[in-house]
Symmetry: C2
Subunit: 142 residues, 2 copies
DNA sequence: CATTATTGTACGTACCACGTACAATCTCAG
DNA sequence: CTGAGATTGTACGTGGTACGTACAATAATG
């Protein structure tokens, strides 16, 4: 197979970002295959564990997602018995999410796996580089 | 709506990467809506323009994609009359891709739009920061 | 009290990424 | 030079993510 130079494409920052993200996603997927969780699903479980009673809109805002996308995630997790929904007392339009005990247990395992995954990712950088990278990335989405 | 703290989630580098990538993707999508091209489609057209005659495997390797994913992209572009395929002379298993004239014209427009998009992205950084960010990102996917 | 905004629901669309199985072709060891 | 294994392209399928739109129930506001 001929080796193709990417050439000018390598100067495209958006593409670098995409490739870096893709590599991390792939590793995450392999690492979490046994838990059966994706990055987004872990994020949802994590936030719900930290803030029991939150609603669709809270999740969507915290994770920069569409409301429809958010609900697709929540529904899948609910179907697996990891999350439950109950009418919110304060506002009868809202539905409060929380974890089931099964969801809490899985989240704990997931957090441990996230630590390993993050170690794999972060071992490329020293402390100063890591702080720099985090700050530069934050400028993009904030 | 209650404002939910992301808390420990903000220390997850993978999530920052994902959010940054998401923000860039969203801007790209809006910016390219009139051309009807996605980031990946532009990448494929660009590489094909630079290396006429390349094959499925070349594209997949250069863009870190699965062969099946690559072909889905190529087929869609072929159906729109932007790319053509012809049997390769050197290896009769291979199929050589190239751009149609219509594809070349669209690619030129896309390159101009990419420049604008990249300006939007890069104006967050000075030259030194940009070089740093590019280098740090490259460590992840290389 | 009437209008407007918010929240959740229920559809649909599109893109991307990967897996598997298969046939044609090439390569290389023997 | 022949047969085994590797490579290439094809044709399916699955799942996750992301967004749009239209609608009903409820809350907030004038």
């Amino acid at each position: 197979m001929a080796r193709i130079a990417r050439g000018p494409l390598d100067t495209i920052l958006g593409l670098r970002l995409r490739r870096a993200n893709g590599a991390v996603q792939r590793h995450f997927g392999e690492h979490f295959a046994d838990l059966g969780l994706t990055q987004k699903q872990v994020s949802v479980l994590w936030l719900t564990g930290d803030h029991p009673g939150l609603a669709q809109t809270d999740l969507a805002a915290a994770l920069d997602m569409d409301r429809a996308t958010t609900m697709a995630l929540v529904h899948a997790l609910e179907k697996r018995g990891l999350m439950t929904r109950a009418p919110a007392l304060s506002d009868r339009r809202k539905i409060a999410f929380s974890l089931t005990s099964q969801g809490s247990i899985l989240l704990d395992k997931a957090k441990a796996a996230v630590d390993e995954h993050e170690d794999w990712l972060k071992r490329r950088f020293d402390a100063a580089e890591l702080a720099t990278l985090e700050e530069l990335l934050a400028r993009i989405y904030r």
